[in-house]
Structures are given as structure tokens and as C-alpha cells.
């Protein structure tokens, strides 16, 4: 089993679980299939030696964002019966639109450069390690890094403000 077989099997699993996300009737199953998709994408990152991003993908996406989706779903208490239905015509139109978009993407992108540029094996093996990424992040990209903390603060304040229940006025 060489690396090419592993890559193709992984790609097939990723596409299969992504299809099950949009095709499941029950929203809970869609969320769980999306968690599986994120794990497959992290496996793709490991295959490309992007170690930091593989772990961060699992921790942030599958571990935090999907858990948030699950909490909200369980709080709303949806089931298969309350799932809104789309008409067949709308589904067909969406699939045709998506299919033509895919054809345009693949046709536009498949004529690019095929050979790898002459980079040293050392830099390819080092890109993706925490040390190299951390050095780049704190020297070249330090300004977006600090501004992303401001973004997080605003998202937290916004989420708390939006979802807070109003205080009930008590009659004396």
C-alpha cells in the first residue's frame, strides 16, 4: 500500500462523508458526518506534513465549533419530522448549478503547472512544523495575529449580547 493508494482512499472517504452531510435527513447525523469530514481533512494535512494545522484543525473545528453546533442543535431539539423540505425542482436546479460550477473549476484548474518547483527537500519537510510556523507568525504576521485577538473579543461580546435573555420585570 503505497502513499498514492492512501491518498486516493482518503480523498474518497472525504468526499463520501461530505456528501452524507448534505444528504442526511436528520440534522444530528449531518453534524456527525461533518465531524468525520473534518477528521479526514486533518488526515490529509498529516499526509502533507502539515502537523500543526492537522492538530489545530481537530481541536478547533471538530472539537470546538462542532460541539457548539451540537449544543445549539440539542437546545433547539429538532428531529426528522420538523426538517423543512425542498421541492424536487429546487434540488435539481441546485445540483445542475453545482455541477456546472465543478466543471468550470476543474476545466480552469487542470491546465496549470504539473511539475513541482525546485524547492529544497529541507524546506518542504520543515514547513508545517510548529517551530517554523511560529517563527513566521510572530515576525512577519504579528499584526494580523494581534488583530485576531480583537476579533475574538468582539465575537464573544456579540454572542453574549445577542443570546442573553431579557430580565423579566417582577410585579410587586
Amino acid at each position: 500500500m503505497n502513499i498514492e493508494t492512501i491518498a486516493y482512499i482518503l480523498g474518497g472517504l472525504t468526499i463520501g462523508s461530505a456528501l452524507m452531510v448534505i444528504l442526511s435527513n436528520h440534522p444530528m447525523r449531518s453534524i456527525l458526518y461533518l465531524v468525520v469530514t473534518f477528521f479526514m481533512i486533518s488526515a490529509n494535512y498529516v499526509l502533507m506534513n502539515a502537523q500543526f494545522l492537522a492538530i489545530v484543525n481537530i481541536i478547533v473545528y471538530a472539537g470546538a465549533i462542532m460541539v457548539l453546533f451540537l449544543f445549539v442543535l440539542m437546545m433547539l431539539n429538532l428531529s426528522k419530522d420538523t426538517e423543512p423540505k425542498t421541492s424536487i425542482a429546487m434540488k435539481a436546479a441546485a445540483v445542475i448549478a453545482g455541477g456546472s460550477l465543478l466543471v468550470v473549476f476543474v476545466a480552469a484548474l487542470s491546465k496549470g503547472a504539473h511539475t513541482a518547483p525546485g524547492v529544497s527537500a529541507d524546506s518542504i519537510n520543515n514547513v508545517g512544523l510548529v517551530k517554523v510556523l511560529g517563527h513566521e507568525l510572530f515576525t512577519t504576521y504579528v499584526l494580523p495575529f494581534e488583530i485576531s485577538s480583537v476579533l475574538f473579543i468582539s465575537a464573544i461580546v456579540g454572542a453574549v449580547l445577542l443570546a442573553k435573555r431579557e430580565k423579566q420585570v417582577l410585579e410587586q
Partner: protein, 108 residues
């Protein structure tokens, strides 16, 4: 064992096509489904497809810029999912439904 780069066995075409397929699955999911939670999840799927392609090109060229951009995309996606879900909770509290077909008018 030092991991040989994967682009000697599968070409960069493979990740171009895989990322395009995942992106189009996300687009079709946004168009087909009317449950607001599933629509938000398909947006996350589209963002992940772009992340995959950015990491592929970053490894292809041996530079770390693509992977750092993925880091910032994850930051923005986390903040956007948080605020989007809190808006969804607020809408559910007012109308008891998450069907986005009901929200196509700004008043009433």
C-alpha cells in the same frame, strides 16, 4: 523516516480537484437545505475546502505563508460560527422555527 513529499506520487492536480469537489458540495448544500444549522455547516465545509487547497499549495512551494493564512481563516470561521449560531438562537426564540424559507422578508 523523513516523509517524502506527497506531490511526487500524487500531483497537485489531485488536491485541486478534491478541494473543488468539496467546495461544490458545500455550495450545493447551501442551495438545497433549508435548515439554518445545515446551511451554516455547509459554509464551514466550503471554508475547509479552501483550507485544504491552501495547505496543499503551501507544501508544494515550500513556503509557510499558506499555512498561516489557514490559521487566520480558522480564527475567522470560529468567530463567525459563534455569532451566526447566537443569531440563530435568537431567531428560534422569536419564531420557534429554523426554516430559512420563512425569513425572506425583513418585516413581519
Amino acid at each position: 523516516m523523513v516523509l517524502a513529499t506527497i506531490f511526487e506520487s500524487v500531483s497537485i492536480q489531485y488536491y485541486l480537484v478534491l478541494s473543488s469537489i468539496l467546495f461544490v458540495i458545500g455550495v450545493v448544500g447551501v442551495l438545497i437545505r433549508k435548515n439554518a444549522i445545515i446551511v451554516l455547516m455547509c459554509v464551514e465545509l466550503m471554508l475547509n475546502a479552501v483550507n485544504l487547497l491552501l495547505v496543499a499549495f503551501s507544501t508544494f512551494f515550500g513556503q509557510s505563508d499558506g499555512q498561516l493564512f489557514v490559521f487566520f481563516i480558522m480564527v475567522v470561521a470560529a468567530a463567525e460560527a459563534t455569532v451566526g449560531l447566537s443569531i440563530l438562537v435568537l431567531i428560534y426564540r422569536n419564531t420557534r422555527s429554523v426554516d430559512i424559507g420563512l425569513f425572506n422578508k425583513l418585516k413581519d
